[in-house]
Subunit: 357 residues, 2 copies
């Protein structure tokens, strides 16, 4: 859905003051493209819909809070599941469209759209259910999880339901052929135009294999091991303090011979489900159908050759960037086979530079 | 080549001070992606190469200035064509790679890379030839043409050669199916998820059919008339003052029945050529192979039905944005068939907002 507007960019860092950050954050949800992409993401929207409808016994007759409601689609699912009242809290101007959509679906008696941040709005009552689609790239990049936890602590009755109720983070080594193709490109220029540009390959390596987190779809066949879970967040109990650093150790073993040139980080979120198997998972794994979250790719400085069963181990830490608290950094300490431990810290670039022809 | 890094974005306007503008402009050429895209653009690079080699009689033994040399590839083509000396002037840090590439091709006696802007560098002599790849999106967006004209007036000997020597701008009405598909998407949501979101279509129309210039590849079959040339720039005579507004009238007639929903603007540049047909054209027309410039698409507020031979007429003006002098605006006054004249002003958005999952 975002194919109309694609660009190559040169990642730039820029310090934004807090107000400016929040304005960019809330404004950027007003453009239709991002909502189109989210609604058109069938894995996302249909898993939420299924989770809400399957939990209708726990939702029917109850009061629900939708944190960051956007176009209000999850709130309407809750109304369809029999909720008595849904407070759809949305800070950005898309709340105006949510009001229209609620009317168009004849649920304005149930769904009340409230424009504001969940930290500042006053609800007339506590709620029995919180629903939210708060996940960002690599789970925590520009995520609304802190707001969901605030809402839980302030508005959720004891024993209430949170949808989703758990999040898990995974890491796996991969062999990304595109980056090696891009480096090799510079060796092909001489044949094409009679100018030897092979020395650009080193520069390209420094530019491409930098510390940016690249959000892209990893092909299943490029994954080199069973993914390793390195962190789990229980949304009923995790605290804002604990989110300041989300970290955990991992171990895995290579599927076969390959050159590892990156790690891939992705997440799942899990909904409780009264039916067997008692849970429903929204997965952004490269082994499952694509979502608009894709995967987070972290390039190593140079590829490492591995063989069947070469062990990988290490620790991943995720924490907010100093420049912008909504931007996530991922630090990886890792050992591959007999190599000594290496470390690299990655961050999602600001897309503030301009594309150039 | 830019497929690794694609994003959807919400266009934002931001005033940049002049220094910041220039820094962004020069810095963004340092990333390898943009150079990879330019070198990998076979139409671009091979047309320059052919034009330089075919003009070798005029280049052999002569002094050449390459304005905005980048990786230095055009300078090396000139050395291969027999230039006595090539000054490769490049303001950004890619000049360091140009130095390496020049050495790797054993032309360091001929090609001298000079880091600086052409407005500030001092050359030891006047030149007989200026070569430059200065064209931006829609020809003039963030283009270096002013710098080329400065170089011409300051450093080119009377009767010298400029490659390319002419630029032409074209407009044609098109019927873009993607935008209508995107608007229709909101009517399909109810069937998929049981929530009627058709009222989002109006919001989507306002967001998508805004005044942004969209840079994308127009399919040949979506073009609705023979393109009309509305401006021509002779690089030997055009002045910086004349570039403040580039404008011209156009008329064309519809190929058949369709709903016009946009105009497409594109350019060609022409090189003199001693061989027949005495010129060589680098075209970014939708009827020719794709280039990294693609085309500039300007959406009308609503589609207009036309039939075979429906006349289009109007005037196009291109001028720098008030916010940022390197950003181009395109104003179109147009009449379609019996409709009264309409006007719309478009601009290339700043890609400064952040992508959001």
């Amino acid at each position: 859905m975002s194919t109309l507007r694609r660009m190559s960019y040169a990642g730039k860092k820029r310090k934004l003051d807090k107000t400016r950050q929040d304005r960019v954050y809330f404004d950027s949800y007003s453009d239709v493209t991002v909502h189109e992409e989210m609604i058109a993401d069938y894995v996302r929207t249909n898993t939420y819909r299924t989770a809400i409808l399957k939990n209708s016994e726990l939702i029917r007759g109850k009061v629900v809070l939708d944190v960051g409601a956007g176009t209000g689609v999850l709130s309407i699912f809750c109304a369809q599941a029999g909720a008595k009242k849904v407070y759809a809290v949305e800070a950005c101007s898309i709340a105006e469209q949510a009001v229209e959509i609620v009317k168009q679906n004849n649920v304005e008696d149930v769904v009340e759209v409230i424009r504001g941040t969940v930290e500042t709005v006053e609800l007339p009552e506590k709620v029995e259910v919180i629903v939210s689609e708060w996940m960002g790239y690599a789970l925590l990049h520009e995520s609304m999880l802190n707001s969901v936890l605030y809402a839980r602590d302030r508005w959720l009755k004891a024993g209430g339901l949170i949808l989703p109720s758990r999040a898990e983070l995974y890491i796996t080594p991969i062999s990304d052929p595109v980056v090696e193709d891009r480096l090799y490109f510079w060796y092909t220029v001489k044949e094409q135009y009679g100018v030897d540009m092979s020395c650009m390959s080193n520069f390209a390596r420094r530019c491409i294999k930098n510390s940016d987190i690249i959000v892209s779809n990893v092909a299943m066949e490029d994954v080199l091991s069973h993914p390793a879970r390195f962190a789990e967040l229980d949304l009923h109990s995790v605290t804002v303090e604990e989110l300041r650093t989300v970290k955990g150790r991992f171990t895995c073993e290579s599927f076969g011979s390959a050159a590892v040139n990156a790690f891939c980080v992705y997440f799942t979120v899990t909904f409780p489900c009264p039916e067997k198997p008692h849970s429903l998972v929204l997965s952004t794994s490269p082994f499952y159908p694509e979502t608009h979250w894709k995967q987070a790719v972290l390039y190593l400085d140079s590829p490492v050759e591995v063989v069947q069963d070469t062990p990988f181990s290490g620790e991943v830490s995720m924490f907010p960037s100093e420049d912008s608290s909504r931007h996530i950094c991922i630090h990886v300490d890792y050992t591959i086979g007999e190599q000594k431990e290496q470390s690299k810290t990655f961050s999602i670039p600001d897309w503030t530079a301009e594309p150039q022809p």
